[in-house]
Symmetry: C3
Subunit: 216 residues, 3 copies
């Protein structure tokens, strides 16, 4: 992939770094793991979404294993998080922002790669969202949390929005650096607005409110 | 796959719909998720087994991503469950029945597709069972339950029975609509008898009884 | 794979048997499952790492599904564990040793197969470690434990050491039965020393000590 679209590569590496940091900080905060656990969780978070994408697109071995830069960037993010994790109490906001960065760029690169590999538009949007939320979902399952994608309304929605904009841009011939950054930016903004104002998607009719459900 | 065997397609879509409903109802009942979480869990339950099957058979991208009907049917099942979930207390029985329907048809289609792709009979039986229980196992891992396939004796056994009948029918040249429905029906019946009479497979010698183990 | 390197096959089957026993004993001890759950967890533990390896190397269907011996050996290990699980209290040590055996041989065979399939040295080391810890990680996720690979410092490190020795031996032309056994032996020893002396990798600066983190 890297040889064909340098834009995808740069975005992908940025998201990988952000998710590596994020996953490692999660390991420090939630599960209190040692350095191996921290780096492992960081790398799984960073690389999981892209690996799932490449398995589903049959582009194997995954980009991660063909191109050393993914491994290097993911490990670097995780090690930086390990080294600078002392001020734990202050890190909730950066964790959310890094997660939103990874979410945004992976939604764009996942959708874009899916179109490149011949998937239809709806499938490409869904694959973009899977790429975006995949690493974080494995992360949450491993540290035994209900995955963000299922428990927070405005987690999958921004990913779907970013992937949709990407697919529309590609189909209309407008895709390029500007369109990719715009699509990622829209995803990023929706996600941060959701975090800031604790927005939630609708709950089932008659179901208990979010305050009940948040008890975990 | 769809082009070659319309029977497989129809059964597969039926199971997809049933598992979509079932996964979404589980999301409403167990984890009290919002609409995104409900639909996500429904779609993972509906599509997970088939995706695992297609990855292991190297038939990628998975049927799910090549044929929009799978996505549509899974999403429809999940959305219907979301909309009609008000009478939550009454839904335990339908959830079990829908789960048994998905289990049965996926055991048949998984085993049948495995033979079509050249796997040996024993492997086809196991792949049928994996297809049948895969989506529900991911569902349970994500909402942090011990997966049904491991905690309920008569969950894997009916799937193995349905897959075995399918493989025997194919190898003896008797496979067709009738054989497929019979195999699925046997799986369905064994599963429902297990639920109805709380049947369990043997426990390890000296191990505590099911009443102890059920404390979760 | 089996046709090409009998050494890999023998080691792989040994690890498969050890992990089959180990996963089944875990099912008996931790989750108190019935025979189906015990055998399922044993087989997932035994076959999971190799399946992940083969998916990432695009060698599908996985060796497990092409060669009946893997299924047979994994099932045999799990059934033996089920039958002889009565003296549960005495089994903590054998579980650790069996786990170390599986870890060691899968690190070697995973790294060796990765080089055979053209991956670079760093990627082969990481894929060896993934093969080694993959089955156990799925096992832990399914019975809802924080995976060993993340919570125990000296779990991933011996796997990385064994995989590194394997890759070095291959690149220097020294790889053979002796080198493979040496690499597996080094992994095995480091792992058992870690278990025996409760060694841990460094924790994040300012983080709580291991005694706090062990409360699960």
């Amino acid at each position: 992939m890297s040889g064909e679209s340098p834009l995808l590569l740069i975005l992908d590496l940025t998201g990988t770094f952000a998710f590596g940091l994020n996953g490692a900080l999660t390991a420090v905060r939630v599960a209190r793991l040692d350095i191996v656990g921290v780096v492992t969780l960081g790398m799984i978070t960073a690389l999981g979404g892209g690996i799932i994408r490449d398995i589903l697109l049959d582009d194997l071995p995954p980009a991660t294993f063909r191109d050393w830069r993914y491994l290097a960037v993911a490990a670097a993010g995780a090690l930086i998080a390990f080294a600078f994790s002392r001020g734990l109490g202050k890190l909730a906001v950066p964790i959310e922002i890094l997660d939103a960065v990874g979410l945004s760029v992976f939604a764009v690169t996942g959708a874009s790669k899916a179109i490149e590999f011949g998937l239809g538009p709806a499938q490409a949007v869904i694959l973009g969202a899977i790429t975006a939320v995949g690493g974080g979902t494995i992360r949450d399952a491993l540290v035994r949390r209900i995955p963000s994608v299922m428990s927070e309304g405005l987690y999958a929605i921004p990913a779907l929005a970013g992937a949709t904009l990407t697919v529309v841009a590609i189909l209309t011939g407008l895709y390029g650096l500007l369109a990719a950054i715009t699509a990622a930016g829209v995803c990023f903004l929706i996600r941060l607005l959701g975090v800031r104002f604790k927005l939630n998607a609708p709950r089932p009719p008659g179901a208990p409110g979010p305050s009940d459900a948040a008890s975990d």
